[in-house]
């Protein structure tokens, strides 16, 4: 319990982390939503860009930053500097530290989503995810898959300084495939097929679907779950404590 408390404090001391994981997505939602007129026009599908597409992309931006940069940087640094090794000489296994880090990242992600929903409702009168139970499930599953991927990055990164670099190389293609710059609805077919298997793509689609009030498509859940299994397995195999 104390470990969680101390690690949370340390996380807060790294305030640039929170600027990118909480501040930036929130700011983008508000600034883009209020400054680009097209984003608040009702489209062909009967809803506005700021209602579900923009907030689900911002959710993904926050999650990918956490999973690709923050988590690998922290864990690789802890391994690199011998923090994990130091802890392994005490009765508490360093695995506990990993668990605490995952929990902290999850909390930051949840806070971001809640703030995005509140901001959407305050600034644009958007509604909260209509299928909230499905939304929650999709959110947790996708977050787990991305965190597992982040641990693989932490495992292969030689140290804490290289880890965010590798993370960025993974993060930007995934953001693109998720529809950050070209929404999935208007992607060319070939690109959308790649997107369908990129874990981030189906995750983004399922988030958007449940935000709109639909049930997620089974195939999207399956791909995300497969990603979790794959990266989870790899992380367990590859992760080194020292």
């Amino acid at each position: 319990m104390k470990l969680l408390f101390v690690e949370a404090k340390l996380h807060l001391r790294e305030w640039p982390f929170l600027m990118f994981t909480v501040g930036l997505p929130l700011l983008l939602l508000i600034v883009l939503g209020t400054s680009i007129p097209d984003f608040t026009k009702v489209g062909e599908n009967g809803e506005r860009f700021v209602d579900t597409q923009l907030p689900s992309m911002m959710t993904l931006l926050s999650l990918l930053t956490l999973a690709c940069s923050v988590l690998p940087a922290v864990m690789a640094t802890y391994r690199d500097q011998g923090v994990l090794r130091r802890m392994s000489t005490t009765p508490v296994h360093p695995g506990r530290l990993l668990g605490v880090q995952l929990l902290i990242n999850l909390v930051v992600a949840v806070v971001t989503v809640v703030l995005l929903i509140v901001a959407g409702s305050l600034f644009f009168g958007s509604s909260a995810p209509r299928q909230w139970a499905w939304f929650g499930l999709v959110f947790l599953l996708g977050t787990a898959a991305l965190m597992a991927m982040g641990l693989v990055i932490a495992a292969v990164a030689p140290n804490g300084k290289v880890a965010p670099g590798i993370g960025s190389a993974v993060m930007f293609p995934l953001l693109f495939l998720a529809g950050m710059w070209v929404p999935r609805d208007v992607m060319p077919d070939a690109l959308r097929v790649i997107s369908d298997y990129s874990v981030a793509g189906p995750f983004a689609q399922a988030l958007k679907d449940t935000w709109q009030g639909h049930a997620p498509q089974l195939i999207h859940l399956v791909v995300v779950a497969a990603g979790l299994a794959l990266f989870g397995g790899l992380a367990v195999r590859l992760f080194r404590w020292e």
Partner: protein
């Protein structure tokens, strides 16, 4: 009572044999030194003792526990300070101690510990802003916060300035006085000579000798030299008549007397008898370095 028993310890790494055959015993309350050149297998040896690394051969017992199968129990009796292990950069001194104290069921009061290692004033300082000596003292405090019976300290004073080193030595002596058995890994012969009750000299994965510092030095023959400038002319025969003296040589005004046993007192007493004062008196004794050289044919550092 033997609190640590190591018998025929062996550890093979993929590319080299780190520890070939190491055996030693440590009595409760002792400061036991493991001394040897870099790469001799010192760190691997204590890591096997502490259960941080699994050994391939031989037996290790710490307070009757097997570090390979009873790691969890071992963690409660043995505290370890690792050579290259750190803390998160932004953790404050008190937070680190408070956190590590929470890992143990019956921890020491970390506030007392903080004062004992002299870091009271650094309570709220972040780890990255501590000096090398301060980090080492915090490291010692963390190794002790679980109230262990054995503390393993690996290369504790490497990289410290002389003052910080002396402060750390004092701290180690205080720790011993509180009843904790200490295993000290070092490649500084001065440190080993000054702190340790007994020393295992290790070279190339093997124990070369185990003895008290004085005992090890005595093995190289105990040759001593006394240098001085006599206040009046001295006849060589005066000194050669002493049983402790083997040889007398002169270089300029200086006399160099070689011998063994209680050489210095015997020489000064004989001089005093003839109202001669030995000026600039210097006594040169064999060191652990010499002992290591004699025992292995190689220099320690």
């Amino acid at each position: 009572m033997k609190i640590i028993e190591v018998e025929n310890l062996r550890k093979q790494y993929p590319k080299h044999l780190a520890v070939d055959d190491v055996s030693f015993e440590v009595a409760e309350g002792e400061i036991f030194g493991i001394l040897g050149p870099n790469g001799a297998g010192k760190t691997t040896t204590v890591e096997c003792v502490a259960g941080v690394r699994a050994h391939d051969g031989g037996t290790v017992r710490v307070a009757g526990l097997d570090p390979r199968t009873q790691r969890d129990e071992l963690r409660h009796v043995l505290g370890m300070q690792l050579q290259s292990a750190a803390l998160p950069e932004k953790i404050k001194v008190w937070e680190a101690l408070d956190l590590y104290a929470s890992f143990y069921p019956d921890p020491a009061d970390w506030r007392t510990l903080l004062a004992r290692v002299g870091l009271d004033a650094k309570r709220d300082t972040a780890f990255k802003n501590l000096s090398g000596g301060q980090r080492q003292r915090l490291s010692v405090a963390l190794a002790l916060v679980g109230q262990p019976r054995v503390a393993v300290l690996d290369e504790l004073t490497t990289g410290l300035d002389p003052q910080a080193r002396r402060d750390t030595w004092e701290l180690i002596q205080q720790v011993r006085e509180s009843g904790v058995t200490i295993v000290l890994v070092t490649h500084f012969m001065e440190e080993a000579e000054r702190l340790c009750d007994r020393i295992a000299l290790i070279d190339a994965g093997k124990v070369v000798a185990i003895d008290t510092p004085a005992g090890l030095i005595a093995r190289v023959g105990g040759e001593q030299r006394v240098r001085f400038r006599p206040s009046a002319p001295v006849d060589d025969s005066l000194l050669l008549a002493l049983p402790e003296v083997r040889e007398v040589t002169r270089s300029g005004e200086q006399m160099v007397v070689s011998g063994s046993g209680n050489l210095a007192p015997a020489v000064t007493l004989a001089l005093a008898h003839h109202q001669i004062v030995p000026g600039d008196l210097r006594i040169e004794q064999a060191t652990l370095d010499d002992a290591f050289l004699a025992l292995t044919g190689r220099k320690l550092s």
